[in-house]
């Protein structure tokens, strides 16, 4: 039960820290900062646990003691943090599917026509901002009027292409 409580507490600390930092100033490289915060919380917690174990043996029962407890906290906190970072892209960028649903809900009983959706969700809304994200993230560069893949973008593309071909799936999007 101790590992469960400590793991959940660490994750809550990460979330609170992110809200504080984002409300002060949203960082430019959001994912990189999130990963750094995730690692930072884990490192500080691990050092703290070790310090308590060695410095205050009477409080040692409140911190992990065995490899099972340490690894369990690592996997719980690590898993939840990575899951949150994976979800963050849906928070940061508007999902077309979810935006469509919200549009239909607000339209109420009259519903939404395909033409309404095509007018609202154009290339300027759905594609261009994502392309700009890739340029800002260094995955793609702009050379005159052409967009060219960078090494990091190529690596990402290769990983996904290999995975999708291995699963015998077509290009997604």
């Amino acid at each position: 039960m101790k590992a469960l409580v400590l793991g959940l507490t660490l994750f809550c600390c990460l979330l609170i820290l992110q809200v504080i930092v984002w409300r002060i100033k949203r960082p430019a490289g959001e994912y990189a900062v999130l990963l750094q915060m995730c690692c930072g919380v884990l490192i500080i917690a691990t050092v703290g646990f070790a310090a308590v174990s060695w410095g205050r043996p009477e409080s040692a029962r409140f911190v992990p003691q065995t490899p099972l407890e340490y690894l369990s906290i690592l996997f719980l906190y690590g898993g939840m943090s990575l899951a949150y970072i994976a979800t963050y892209s849906a928070i940061q960028a508007d999902s077309p599917s979810l935006s469509l649903l919200l549009m239909m809900e607000r339209a109420g009983p009259q519903g939404v026509s395909l033409r309404d959706m095509e007018e609202r969700f154009s290339d300027e809304v759905l594609v261009i901002p994502r392309l700009e994200d890739l340029v800002a993230g260094g995955l793609v560069k702009q050379v005159d009027s052409r967009y060219v893949i960078e090494q990091s973008g190529a690596l990402l593309a290769r990983v996904h292409l290999f995975y999708r071909r291995f699963l015998k799936l077509e290009k997604g999007g």
Binding site: M80, A83, M104, Y147
Partner: protein, 175 residues
């Protein structure tokens, strides 16, 4: 200590089953493949909990409950990461864009060439298809309505998170 790796072994089972199902049964509905493989991985967690409980004395049953919850949460988190990775390739616009640009090679693409390969109409069409097939929306006389509201509730949760983090409901899309 081997029990510490229960979430890792379970997600490996889930991912392995998902890859096998997708390759061997190409006609299987993608959501079904995900559900079956997730259930198999969760079965590994359940079996591990039973094995762990058998080794523990009765006075340590609270530890068994604690670890059962912990492994379940960790497994669900790992599964979320795996299926998010899968979904990135399935529905991610940025992933599709880097794939198109990667395939174009060093010469790259102009915005016109890129939009010819991947554009808003294709994006809308794919999403409407998925939402219709999964029952999240229904179509009647050429107009679309919310069906089962599961993803709608998810959308509203994300809006709350956007307001908490960014003090606004969306990045620019208005509905």
């Amino acid at each position: 200590m081997i029990f510490a790796f229960v979430p890792v072994l379970s997600i490996a089972t889930c991912a392995g089953a998902h890859i096998l199902l997708t390759r061997i049964v190409p006609g299987l509905f993608r959501l079904s493949a995900a559900v079956y493989s997730f259930a198999l991985g969760f079965g590994c967690v359940a079996i591990s909990v039973i094995m762990f409980a058998v080794r523990m004395s009765p006075e340590h049953m609270s530890d068994v409950v604690g670890y059962a919850v912990l492994w379940s949460l960790a497994y669900v988190s790992f599964a979320h990461c795996y299926f998010s990775f899968y979904n990135l390739g399935e529905a991610g616009r940025r992933i599709r864009l880097v794939i198109e640009l990667y395939l174009a090679g060093d010469k790259g693409m102009t915005i016109e060439e890129l939009l010819a390969a991947y554009n808003a109409r294709m994006i809308l069409g794919a999403r409407l298809y998925r939402l219709l097939v999964s029952g999240q929306i229904v179509e009647k006389d050429g107009r679309y309505f919310v069906g089962q509201p599961v993803m709608l509730y998810l959308a509203k949760s994300l809006v709350l998170m956007k307001i908490l983090l960014f003090k606004r409901e969306s990045e620019g899309l208005s509905w």
